[in-house]
């Protein structure tokens, strides 16, 4: 038995954290993440979730408190967005390097200035090298499911790395969606208790985050890199088991009419659902268009991505963040790098759009696809094109 309810996605995420039976939540409220942590505070205050809620004075402190809590072996959750994620930045590296399985929901938000509370992906792209596992969701159900999966992945003894679950601020956080909640007993079966192997313990002292002289630092970083790359197998295993247990299957690279299509569009996050409608419209007109969506951003799913695009001639990529002065959006730039040494590869056309809450409609995606195809014929002197800017 499952329960299907209409509920705001932020509230649903907090309920998922409750179902995961988190021990500690340390968080600072920031738009558009606020409702997640507000509702968690309510759940703790009402006695519905037996957890320690630590109201901190900043996101830097929030992540620092999460380190301490996770180091004791407590199941630890936080959430943030935009500037808050950036204020956490240095501590994010410490969480992954100390191999602490913190789970964080990131309500993706544009970075200042000008001040924007609205959504894009500039916050998540700025933290892509912090060593966290990064999962991107497209709707509320995926957010709930992947919060539960994130705890299992992070705490797996073969992983022991922190996980961010990225959902688009406002587009997802503030909408009411139909969510199917699993049974608590099924979640309990799916998510074993957190057993951190070397927790802080006065009877068996350990030192964490210690000094790493030049003779050790390279080895430490390589061990971390090997672990993050290897975590992909556990992510896939977790999603497979989630699919068997709850009937919803997730993949690192999600496909939509992409097999055999000569022209592919690639998106991340909730814009993918609008892009699907655009792809449907164009396919009805007889155009050979497919859609590929990246679900797993770190560790980057090289094999699955190359496999998904190998038969295409054109790959049109939409980034929702600018890498200033660089080769285009971060996603397009990484996809190009992933394909560069392949014998058979599509031509990659890079667009940046949807910045700071600017919508891209179905017609907008059709424009992007048509313009992308045109660029492959005419060529372009630019590294990328920005979509929707007023000249």
């Amino acid at each position: 038995m499952t329960t299907r309810v209409g509920i705001e996605v932020s509230i649903a995420i907090a309920d998922a954290v409750k179902m995961a039976n988190a021990d500690v939540v340390a968080a600072y409220p920031i738009t558009p993440q606020t409702h997640i942590v507000e509702h968690l505070a309510e759940l703790v205050a009402n006695g519905e979730l037996d957890a320690e809620y630590i109201p901190v004075e900043s996101e830097h402190s929030a992540m620092s408190a999460c380190l301490g809590s996770s180091a004791t072996g407590a199941r630890t959750f936080t959430a943030t967005a935009g500037q808050g994620l950036e204020l956490m930045h240095e501590v994010l590296y410490v969480a992954s390097s100390m191999r602490l399985p913190v789970v964080m929901a990131v309500a993706n938000r544009a970075l200042s200035s000008p001040l924007s509370v609205w959504g894009d992906h500039s916050d998540m792209m700025a933290v892509r090298d912090t060593g966290w596992i990064q999962i991107v969701v497209e709707n509320g159900q995926q957010a709930v499911d992947n919060i539960i999966c994130a705890f299992r992945i992070a705490e797996d003894k073969r992983v022991l790395l922190p996980v961010m679950v990225h959902l688009d601020g406002f587009y997802l956080t503030h909408v009411i969606e139909p969510i199917t909640f699993p049974e608590q007993s099924d979640v309990d079966r799916f998510l074993p208790p957190n057993k951190y192997p070397l927790p802080l313990n006065p009877d068996k002292p350990v030192a964490m985050g210690d000094f790493g002289p030049p003779a050790i630092y390279t080895e430490a970083k390589w061990a971390q890199e090997v672990q993050l790359r290897a975590s992909k197998d556990v992510v896939l295993e977790c999603w497979d088991e989630f699919g068997r247990a709850f009937g919803r299957q997730y993949c690192p690279v999600e496909k939509y009419h992409s097999d055999g299509a000569k022209v592919l569009l690639l998106t991340m996050g909730c814009f993918s659902e609008t892009a699907m409608v655009a792809v449907d419209n164009m396919r009805k007109e007889g155009k050979d268009i497919g859609l590929v969506r990246l679900r797993l951003w770190r560790p980057f799913p090289f094999e699955e991505f190359r496999q998904a695009v190998k038969d295409a001639d054109v790959l049109i990529v939409l980034d929702r963040a600018i890498s200033f002065g660089g080769p285009g959006g971060a996603v397009a730039s990484e996809l190009k790098a992933a394909l560069y040494n392949q014998d058979k590869k599509p031509e990659v056309v890079s667009f940046v759009g949807g910045l700071g809450g600017r919508d891209i409609t179905e017609a907008g995606f059709e424009d992007i696809i048509n313009r992308g195809i045109e660029i492959t014929r005419t060529g372009s002197k630019n590294e990328y094109e920005i979509y929707g800017v007023r000249e």
Partner: protein, 97 residues
């Protein structure tokens, strides 16, 4: 620690480089950082211990004769003891000498 730090491979490290042996910082030879070392004329020493109080490394102890002397395994050669000593017992000399 069975292997020295320069022999450890990435596979030898504990998860997150966690140190499981309490007090192992004691094995770290901070004296290797030193470019000057303290030398002593103990005939002037009044055993007041001011050098020990000021030593930021906490590496000064009384020797068998009761004179205060730095443990060169840890002494970083900062020279604060030499500056603070009332009776000018301590002279810093370059390590090459």
């Amino acid at each position: 620690m069975a292997k020295s730090e320069s022999e450890l491979t990435w596979k030898d490290l504990e998860i997150g480089c966690i140190v499981t042996e309490p007090g192992s910082a004691r094995q770290y030879e901070t004296g290797a950082w030193r470019s000057q070392r303290p030398t002593y004329d103990f005939s002037k020493c009044i055993k007041c211990g001011i050098c020990q109080l000021f030593c930021p490394e906490g590496c000064i102890e009384q020797n068998q004769d009761g004179h205060f002397e730095a443990n060169l395994f840890y002494c970083k050669g900062c020279g604060i003891c030499a500056r603070e000593c009332w009776t000018r017992v301590i002279t810093m000399v370059d390590e090459e000498e």
